[in-house]
């Protein structure tokens, strides 16, 4: 199948953060992997393209998982009674240390990559571990899935505990350069991203070196910000001259720019000052509601980010988030936002379904360019969904069906998945 075609089905996509366009038995067109738009009736000029009729199935844009830790997928759903710093030390760091063993890494990443291929995600920004070889193995595997990703070899030269600490800033930087050189030009779908774990894991010297490296090579950065109060207090001790956690990253030149935006996961406790810093640099916030509830971190004020015009997408944050399923993440995002309104601040209205659908598709997709919608000129990333397991007593609108799907992810079966017009997954009936 070429990547020029027409899909017919029940289509839904965001045309802004506040509204969803739907066509019942409508058409969406890909030419050379670029979306030409969606239509209630097929424009004559596309009559010669091959057409796949998906009948009553839903067709929505692919979703972007803006924050996911591949090596943690092995222990998803375990140890969720801990808060962040204990959880890292007891579960996460010992598990990540195992990825020095290439047999282990190869097998574990095979499961992760295969499950990523099968879920709603068409784009992802991924943490690996500190290990170059395992990171390259992960990139090799992800490249084959067809999902488009950024992948980071993680940097940690302090506080990693046994077998998960690089010797010092210099060896960590050298390893990073080696990794970058080794993968140079190797992949079509898989890009490197500079990945200081978070400030407690990286000395000032390492942070500065990574900031400089990202500028020198025109590479983006991803990290974690203001997830948990104990973590924030620790950062204030570690970088006493910073005015806030975000400012600490800023001092090390790690906040990126509009051209090379940094992703910061969480931002649960970002205040006005921190939000201004995020906005100034064009940072993308990866909002990880599932993770933030599981680790008892709290709830990020997403409505405030949006009102300020800060870029926001959603992250599963596997395995503090327990599932790669972005649709389940949407549900938890909605519930978290309602509880923020009810329990924290009634001035911060809950996110609407429209807004959460936008965040899962175009909000995060924007990090990759024109991605996450069926507007003309966007990359053709799409997921085709069979929701017939959820019976209905009447004709439901497409809008109702996608809301119902969000609340019943287990009954939404992915039939086909396309990235840039390439079908990368199809369900065997």
């Amino acid at each position: 199948m070429s990547n020029s075609f027409v899909l017919k089905g029940c289509i839904a996509f965001s045309d802004s953060s506040k509204s969803i366009v739907t066509f019942n038995k409508g058409y969406v067109v890909s030419v050379d992997g670029v979306c030409q738009g969606a239509f209630p009736d097929l424009p004559e000029r596309y009559n010669n393209l091959p057409l796949v009729d998906y009948g009553n199935k839903l067709i929505i844009p692919g979703m972007t998982d803006l924050h996911v830790h591949a090596p943690q997928y092995t222990f998803r759903g375990i140890g969720m009674d801990k808060e962040l710093l204990d959880w890292l030390n007891i579960y996460t760091f010992p598990e990540e240390a195992k990825y020095s063993d290439m047999d282990y890494a190869t097998k574990a990443y095979t499961y992760f990559s295969e499950d990523l291929r099968r879920c709603f995600t068409t784009r992802a920004v991924v943490f690996a571990t500190i290990h170059n070889d395992a990171t390259i193995e992960l990139m090799n595997q992800l490249e084959k899935t067809g999902v488009i990703t950024y992948v980071g070899k993680v940097n940690m030269d302090r506080n990693g505990g046994k077998n998960l600490e690089e010797e010092n800033a210099q060896t960590s930087l050298q390893a990073t350069i080696q990794w970058l050189d080794e993968i140079e030009g190797k992949y079509k779908n898989t890009k490197p991203i500079i990945t200081p774990r978070f400030i407690p894991s990286c000395s000032d010297e390492l942070m500065k070196g990574l900031g400089a490296l990202s500028k020198e090579r025109g590479l983006r950065i991803q990290s974690h910000l203001s997830e948990n109060k104990s973590e924030i207090a620790w950062v204030q001790e570690l970088v006493p001259q910073s005015s806030c956690y975000a400012n600490a990253y800023e001092m090390f030149d790690a906040m990126g720019s509009k051209e090379y935006p940094t992703i910061m996961a969480h931002c649960v406790y970002s205040d006005r000052l921190e939000m201004q810093i995020l906005k100034k640099h064009g940072v993308f916030i990866a909002h990880c509601a599932d993770s933030n509830m599981n680790l008892t971190s709290g709830i990020a004020p997403v409505r405030r980010f949006l009102d300020l015009g800060i870029n926001v997408g959603l992250g599963t944050d596997v395995s503090a988030g327990s599932s790669l399923n972005m649709v389940k993440t949407m549900l938890i995002t909605l519930q978290a936002s309602k509880m923020y309104y009810r329990l924290v601040d009634t001035d911060v209205k809950p996110l609407t379904f429209e807004e959460v659908f936008y965040l899962a598709t175009e909000g995060g997709g924007k990090y990759f360019g024109k991605v996450g919608s069926f507007k003309a000129g966007y990359d053709f990333d799409a997921v085709v969904i069979d929701d017939s397991k959820m019976f209905s007593m009447r004709d439901m609108s497409v809008r109702e069906r996608i809301e119902r799907m969000c609340y019943n992810d287990a009954d939404a079966i992915i039939k086909d998945k396309y990235v840039q017009g390439n079908r990368i997954f199809t369900k065997i009936e």
Copy 2:
């Protein structure tokens, strides 16, 4: 298959609200539908019973859904942007009014009953609608599933809106008596329960009549309590002489007794005074975290209920809760409890996984007697689960596997389900 047998597999059950007993490749024994206990090695005296070897599959007690609205299953996952009173008027009441049409009711309840048969639930306490015929149709269907239930014809003589209001207290009471007479002695698994929707739906006269009827016939009562602040304020207006919402029910003799315990769903805003009333009467609280988040109601202080020795179980509250899946409800219960601790009151520690597993099994099961555990003398209700879709890189303990299942409900496949030793569901491979 008789209901005397041995099951072999990876067994987990609560022996108290704080601890889970597990046996990897252990045995659990049913004799005439009564559990004889679970064992690491099979006691010789059971050697002559037929044995089903489930290999590496999980075997856990069946779960009790203490609060679910059968007629609302048709619109699960839709309209979740509303709060309680709007949601009732815009979505719920118009939908429930449709159950005056028996064709509609028969078809809708077929879907509900079939999905209930297939989920983790072995016991349920169910709201129907105000309609006698449709309620009896629901009971007929539920009886066939093998799930053991209480089902209530709903009483509403005010504020139901178009086509969902009984004429007055007398006609509502008469209809209830008619319904009770008609089903007398008809079912083995399906019991009636008196079901005033909530105080705003029932006049003082109706409430008093239902209280008296429950005493007269030795029937239990279920209703809603302190779910939403606007609802609570409304009840205070409607019953101005009450000291709190629970006291209003008490005044109408609707709070039951230890022998005939009332179920009150929600109790999100129950304060110390209200908790004392609940405890005094031996009320079961149906905690519905999914619903309470979806309708932006808030989070109930479950830890406080448990500390006071109040009975608590979990309810899906379909369709303010969107799924019949009790395992998903467990996850949301954990997340809600963590957010209550983090955002409302750090004196109220989050529920542990052990506690939530207990609530889903024995906590709610207690409402039905000795139900919800594999202790000797308990009814033999069990669910056999294939969790092999969730790969593992090492041998996981049974305790780890049931926690992982809770966070990944979509990947936990029910293989078989038993109620009182009868296999009522088996998955066709």
